[in-house]
């Protein structure tokens, strides 16, 4: 990726006015799809993503069922109107890969052994895309799974960090993803302190690698607080403020 212009100005502000350690505005609404067993709508910067969970329910086709655990199925899909140029609605190879890594990032948090012979379906639909849609999708899907009442060990919070103008910055946006130097999406279970998704596109020195992963995890922890707040809002009402854990 060759860089054509400065993405961080003299005052340390990025193209969208953020500082290097600042998250885009994140808003999560829990339970926005009435028919689903659990759902969440996330606005992560300009991303608008819907996640809906159905299950545990019967598995079709039946031969997919596992006798000792639940089958988790995941679909990440972008609407044709979600991008600058129309996206063909058929699943692309990129979407196949993201569906896979998304499922693998959620699975460690779920107690699938509690639902043998059943299936849980997670549908993530990107209605409007900005940079970091897989992270926002995972974040929304984890909330939707909690909303569906699935037994979980932890939530999964996701956030990317990356390299822009040789600086490590939090939460890469669309422009920075396309024109910047590196993008590292991370999903993390903050209570268990485990990384469930790690990808990297772009070049980082060993020091930058360590800084980048640490920064992404700090971002995941910020996202985690927003996820908990959103769930508290749905189940305990608007006035509930999340109390700091001691």
């Amino acid at each position: 990726m060759t860089q054509t212009r400065n993405l961080i100005d003299a005052n340390g502000k990025r193209t969208d006015g953020r500082g290097i350690d600042e998250l885009r505005e994140v808003k999560i609404t829990v339970g926005s799809v009435k028919n689903a067993d659990g759902s969440a709508f996330i606005e992560f910067g300009k991303n608008k993503i819907l996640a809906a969970v159905y299950g545990p329910r019967e598995v079709h086709p039946k031969h997919m069922a596992q006798s000792d655990r639940c089958v988790l199925r995941c679909r990440y899909h972008m609407s044709p109107f979600s991008t600058d140029t129309r996206k063909n609605p058929a699943p692309s190879r990129r979407e196949v890969e993201i569906s896979k890594v998304m499922r693998e990032s959620l699975e460690p948090a779920l107690m699938l052994e509690d639902y043998p012979r059943a299936a849980i379906d997670v549908f993530v639909e990107v209605l409007q895309s900005d940079g970091g849609s897989r992270c926002a999708g995972i974040t929304a899907a984890a909330v939707a799974l909690a909303d569906a009442g699935i037994n979980m060990r932890d939530l999964v919070a996701a956030c990317a960090a990356g390299k822009v103008d040789e600086k490590i910055v939090l939460d890469i946006n669309d422009t920075e993803d396309k024109e910047g130097g590196a993008d590292m999406p991370v999903a993390y279970m903050p209570r268990l302190e485990q990384v469930t998704l790690l990808q990297l596109d772009g070049r980082l020195s060993p020091d930058q690698f360590n800084e980048c992963i640490d920064k992404a995890i700090r971002g995941c922890k910020m996202v985690y607080e927003i996820q908990k707040q959103a769930l508290m809002q749905k189940y305990f009402g608007n006035e509930t403020e999340l109390k700091e854990e001691v």
């Binding site: 089958v71 190879r93 990384v195």
Partner: protein, 274 residues
Amino acid sequence: MSSSRRSTIIVEHLRRQQMWDSLAQGKRLDGRDFSEQRPLEIEIDVIKKANGSARVKLGDSEVIAGIKVATGEPFEGLENKGALIVTAEVLPTASPHAEPGPPDEEVVELARVVDRGVRESEMIDLDQLALVPGKIVYTIFVDCSVLNADGNLFDATSYAVVASLLTAKLPILEMKDDKVVDTGQTRPMPVTTVPVSITAARIGDHVLIDPTAEEEGCMDARITITTADDGFCAIQKGYTGAFTVDQLKKAAETARTKGEEVRARLKELAAKNG
């Protein structure tokens, strides 16, 4: 839709216990250390009809990569760059579980992760591969076929792609009267760096590089880290488990040291050929 079907081989219960016991002693079932690769054999120019090719054996995993050079329109947004396309296929010959037909999600991931390593390292200087900027560019296809699968297809395929690119003979094409003409001469690919991927599997608390199919059948999680001459360029965590940050940082360090060894071998291969 992506589902959690296990397509790795099923490892028999007693064998699995045997593996865990062995790992607890610091040894793998085939006698290797945790940070030891299986023997790596690279043979180049195995397909004369291709512009470059390589056959890689990593233990019993065997992959062949062939390069075909064509011309075409540039990608949108990359009008002045040549196009480099890496694909991968697991042939039905590769294992009793491999079936013909459209690629499943694991094969799509394999192709995309290998492609990402080559692309993000900027191994090939694509700026040098435009014929008529904005209109006609070189299109380099690197197609890989897995002939036999015994684990760690990511690294085996990646080495085959890099070895074939390093030793390929790029036909020199010219424009005459708005037509592409092959001059009959060739030159080496415009190579800037040598990306090397190192894949590790976590089984319990142990992280071991270059897993066999049997070890993959017992693994909890997988990580593929690609380094270029000057640092990291691509990473993909795979499979259903998680890693601690500490495990990841150690794996990154191993990917650098082990990657250097493989890189030296690949560079030697290129030097011998050039």
